[in-house]
C-alpha cells in the first residue's frame, strides 16, 4: 500500500510540475492536430496526418512562415469523442496552439467544435462532411471550418449526374447503416433523383463489418431492370460491392461518392477488370493537368510511397489554407480565424476555394469515370 501511495504522490507531483510551465514566447508556430490515428477509423486519419506532415515539411524547407518554423502538435483521438475533447482542450489550453487541424471524420469533429468555441481556437477539419459539424445548434459555429464539401452537396451532384449525364430513370441505392455519411448521401440523392423525374427502387442497407453483400445484391437483382446503382460508401466496402455485383451479373453503371477514391478499390473489387462503368464524385482528379495537382501527387508519392487519396488532398489544402491565414494574420488565434474566414479563391489541389456563411467551402465537384480501374474521364459538375 505504501508503495502505491508513493507512486501516486510522485505522479501528482509531476503533474503539478507539468502545469507549472506557462506559455513561453513561441519560437515556432504550433499547430494542433487531433486525428484518428489508431483503431479502425485510422484509415482516414493516417493519410491526413501524412499530408499535414508533407505540407509542414515543405513550408519549413521554404523558411517557414514569417521566418518561423511550423511545428505540429499531434494527438490521437482513436475515433473516441471523449479523447477528442481531451485532446482539443489540451491543444487549446496547454499547448497554446495557433489553430487546430482535424478530425478526419465527423463524430470527433462534432465533439471538438464546442471546445474550439469555448477556448476560441479554430478547428479546421479536412473531411468532416456531416452538415452539423460547422453548426452550433441552428447558428454557425464561428470556430469550425472544413475543407470538403458537405454530404448534401455530393448527393445533389450525383443525382444530377445520374439523371443528366447517364440519363438514368431507375436507381438502386446501397449504403452502410452504421455510417451517417451513407445515410445522408442516400437521403439527399433519393430526393434529388426523384425531383429530376427518376425513381429509386430500393435502399438496401448493410453494416460496416459486412464483407458479404450477396443477400442484398440478390434482392436487388430480383427487382427487375434498373439503370444505375448508387453505392454510398467508402472503398473498403464499395470495392467489394462492385466486385460482387459484377460477379452476380449486375452490369449497370455504379456511381459513388468521394469515398470510392482509394488505391485499393480495384483490388477489393477482385481486379481492375471488374471496375468498368464506375463513376464517382470527388474533390480532385489525378487526371488534372494543373501543375499544383501534379506536384502534390509527385511529392506525396515520393514522401509516403503511396498515391494520394482525396483525404490527403483535402488535408494538404487545409494545411496550406491555414498557413496562408497565419501568414497574413500572425499567431493570434482570433486573428487567424478571421483571416481564414476571409479566404477567397484559394487555389488548392482540390479546386478554388472560398468559404460560405456556414464555413463550408464553395467549390465545384469532379465526377471521374473509371474503365478497367483507371481514371479515363473527369467532368466538373456544379450542382
Amino acid at each position: 500500500m505504501k508503495r502505491l501511495i508513493t507512486i501516486l504522490a510522485v505522479m501528482l507531483m509531476s503533474l503539478a510540475a507539468l502545469t507549472g510551465c506557462g506559455p513561453k514566447e513561441a519560437e515556432t508556430i504550433k499547430i494542433g492536430v487531433n486525428l484518428e490515428l489508431t483503431g479502425e477509423v485510422s484509415v482516414y486519419g493516417v493519410p491526413e496526418k501524412l499530408a499535414f506532415q508533407l505540407a509542414v515539411k515543405e513550408i519549413n524547407a521554404k523558411g517557414g512562415i514569417d521566418g518561423k518554423q511550423v511545428e505540429l502538435v499531434m494527438y490521437d483521438n482513436a475515433y473516441d469523442t471523449a479523447k477528442a475533447v481531451e485532446n482539443a482542450t489540451k491543444l487549446a489550453t496547454v499547448d497554446n496552439v495557433v489553430a487546430m487541424l482535424g478530425s478526419a471524420t465527423s463524430a470527433p469533429t462534432l465533439a471538438i467544435g464546442p471546445v474550439a468555441k469555448q477556448y476560441e481556437v479554430l478547428a479546421f477539419t479536412p473531411s468532416g462532411t456531416n452538415a452539423k459539424v460547422t453548426m452550433d445548434g441552428t447558428a454557425v459555429n464561428p470556430w469550425v471550418f472544413r475543407a470538403c464539401f458537405i454530404d448534401p452537396f455530393q448527393g445533389l451532384v450525383l443525382a444530377n449526374f445520374a439523371s443528366n449525364t447517364l440519363q438514368a430513370k431507375k436507381a438502386v441505392v446501397m449504403g452502410s447503416s452504421s455510417s451517417d455519411y451513407a445515410k445522408d448521401l442516400a437521403a439527399i440523392f433519393g430526393e434529388k433523383f426523384a425531383a429530376n423525374g427518376g425513381e429509386v427502387l430500393t435502399v438496401e442497407y448493410y453494416t460496416d463489418t459486412d464483407t458479404d453483400f450477396s443477400a442484398q445484391l440478390t434482392t436487388i437483382k430480383g427487382l427487375g431492370e434498373f439503370d444505375v446503382l448508387f453505392v454510398a460508401d467508402y472503398a473498403a466496402r464499395a470495392g467489394l460491392i462492385i466486385g460482387q455485383a459484377r460477379s452476380m451479373g449486375i452490369d449497370v453503371a455504379i456511381i459513388g461518392p468521394d469515398g470510392f477514391e482509394s488505391p485499393d478499390l480495384n483490388d477489393l473489387a477482385g481486379g481492375a477488370a471488374n471496375v468498368n462503368n464506375v463513376y464517382f464524385s470527388t474533390h480532385f482528379s489525378t487526371l488534372s493537368t494543373d501543375a499544383k495537382v501534379q506536384n502534390f501527387i509527385a511529392a506525396y508519392t515520393a514522401e509516403t510511397g503511396e498515391a494520394p487519396s482525396a483525404l490527403s488532398a483535402l488535408a494538404y489544402d487545409a494545411a496550406y489554407m491555414l498557413f496562408a491565414a497565419i501568414e497574413s494574420a500572425g499567431t493570434d488565434p482570433v486573428k487567424v480565424r478571421d483571416a481564414l474566414k476571409a479566404t477567397t479563391n484559394f487555389a488548392g489541389v482540390t479546386g478554388t476555394i472560398s468559404f460560405d456563411d456556414l464555413n463550408n467551402p464553395i467549390k465545384s465537384a469532379v465526377v471521374v469515370k473509371l474503365e478497367n480501374g483507371v481514371q479515363v474521364e473527369a467532368t466538373i459538375v456544379n450542382p
Binding site: Y75, Y119, D180
Partner: protein, 325 residues
C-alpha cells in the same frame, strides 16, 4: 455509535468535504487546468462505471460484457431530453428517464440470461450489449449512426463529485448489507447459497439492475461532458475498458476500482503521445494481472479507515488477522 452519525462516517464526511474544496480550490487557482479537468471528469465517470460493474462481476460473480449498453441508455436519454431542455433540469430528467429505462431493460434481460453460468453468461451479455447498440443505431429518436451532437455541456466539479460520491457510497452500502452478503455468497458458491435459503436469482437480478442503473447515470454524465453521443462509443471495446478497471482494481473491491480508475486516467494522460502502445498495454495488463495477480490490485479487500484509525470492524468483511493464504 451504530448509526448514520458514527465517528467513522463523520470522519469520512469530513475527508470528503476537505477533498472537495481542495480540488475546487486547485481548479479556481488554475493548478488544475481545463485540460486536467477533462481528465478528472473522465476518471469520475469511469469510477461510477467501474464500481457499478464491480457490483455485478466482483461482488455477485456474474461476468457481464455488455455494460456499455446500459451506459448508452443513460447517455442517449440525457442527450434526447436535453435537445429540448438544455439545462440542469433536462439533465436530471434525462438521467431519471435513463435510469427507469435501464431498470426495465436490465430486468427483461436479467431474468432469462442470469440463469446462465460463467462464460455462457458472459457471451450472452455481450450479445445483449450488441443488441442494444444495434437498436440505437436503427432508431429514429436516437438519430441512427450520426448520433446526437451539440449536447449542452453542464458538467462541473461539484456535479461530478456529487454523483461519484453518491454512486460509491450507495455501492458500498449495497455491499455491506444483507443483500450484499447474499450476492457475495452467490459468487462464492451458488449451490451452497441456495441451500442457505438465498433466492439466488432474485439477488442476481437486483445486483444486475443496480449496476445497470449506475452505468446509465454515468452515461448521462458522459453525454453532458463530451457534447456528442454516437453508437460506436458504446460498443464492446468500452465494455472491456470498464472490465479492465474492475480486474485491475480487484474483483469485489470498490475502493480498488476507484484507485484503478485514477491510475488508468493518469496512465492515459502520459501515454497520450503513444497511442498505439496504450491499447497494447491494456491488453497486456489484462493478461498479466489474470496470470500473476488474478485478484487484482486490492483483491476483494477494501482500502478503508478501519485499519488506519484502528476501528473495530463494523462488519466482518475486514479481517482482524489474516492467516497464511
Amino acid at each position: 455509535m451504530k448509526n448514520l452519525f458514527s465517528k467513522k462516517n463523520l470522519i469520512w464526511l469530513g475527508l470528503l468535504i476537505v477533498f472537495f474544496f481542495l480540488v475546487q480550490f486547485l481548479i479556481d487557482i488554475r493548478v488544475i487546468t481545463p485540460y486536467y479537468r477533462t481528465i478528472v471528469y473522465w476518471v469520475g465517470i469511469f469510477i461510477i462505471l467501474g464500481v457499478s460493474l464491480n457490483i455485478i462481476i466482483g461482488i455477485t460473480g456474474q461476468l457481464s460484457l455488455g455494460h456499455a449498453g446500459f451506459m448508452s441508455i443513460g447517455a442517449y436519454s440525457a442527450a434526447i431530453v436535453m435537445q429540448n431542455m438544455p439545462d440542469m433540469t433536462g439533465l436530471l430528467l434525462g438521467m431519471l428517464i435513463g435510469g427507469l429505462v435501464s431498470i426495465l431493460v436490465s430486468f427483461v434481460v436479467a431474468i432469462p440470461t442470469l440463469r446462465l453460468k460463467g462464460d455462457y453468461l458472459a457471451i450472452a451479455t455481450l450479445g445483449v450489449g450488441e443488441i442494444i447498440r444495434i437498436v440505437i443505431l436503427n432508431l429514429e429518436i436516437t438519430n441512427g449512426a450520426s448520433g446526437i451532437s451539440n449536447i449542452k455541456n453542464l458538467i462541473s466539479w461539484p456535479l461530478l463529485f456529487v454523483f461519484v460520491v453518491l454512486a460509491v457510497v450507495l455501492s458500498a452500502n449495497f455491499k455491506n448489507s444483507a443483500i450484499g452478503r447474499a450476492c457475495i455468497s452467490i459468487k462464492e458458491d451458488e449451490i451452497a447459497s441456495e441451500a442457505m435459503g438465498i433466492h439466488t436469482t432474485k439477488y442476481k437480478v437486483i445486483a444486475f439492475i443496480f449496476g445497470a442503473v449506475l452505468a446509465s447515470v454515468a452515461g448521462s454524465l458522459y453525454a453532458t461532458t463530451y457534447y456528442v453521443v454516437k453508437p460506436e462509443t458504446f460498443g464492446i471495446a468500452t465494455s472491456i475498458n470498464i472490465l479492465i478497471i474492475v480486474v485491475f482494481g480487484g474483483m469485489g473491491s470498490l475502493t480498488g476500482s476507484v484507485i484503478a480508475t485514477g491510475f488508468i486516467g493518469i496512465i492515459n494522460m502520459f501515454l497520450q503521445s503513444f497511442a498505439e502502445v496504450r491499447l497494447i498495454t491494456y491488453a497486456l495488463v489484462l493478461i498479466v494481472v489474470m496470470i500473476f495477480r488474478p485478484q487484482g490490485l486490492l483483491g476483494s479487500k477494501e482500502f478503508g479507515l478501519d485499519k488506519i484509525l484502528g476501528f473495530k470492524p463494523p462488519f466482518s468483511k475486514k479481517l482482524r488477522k489474516e492467516k497464511s493464504t
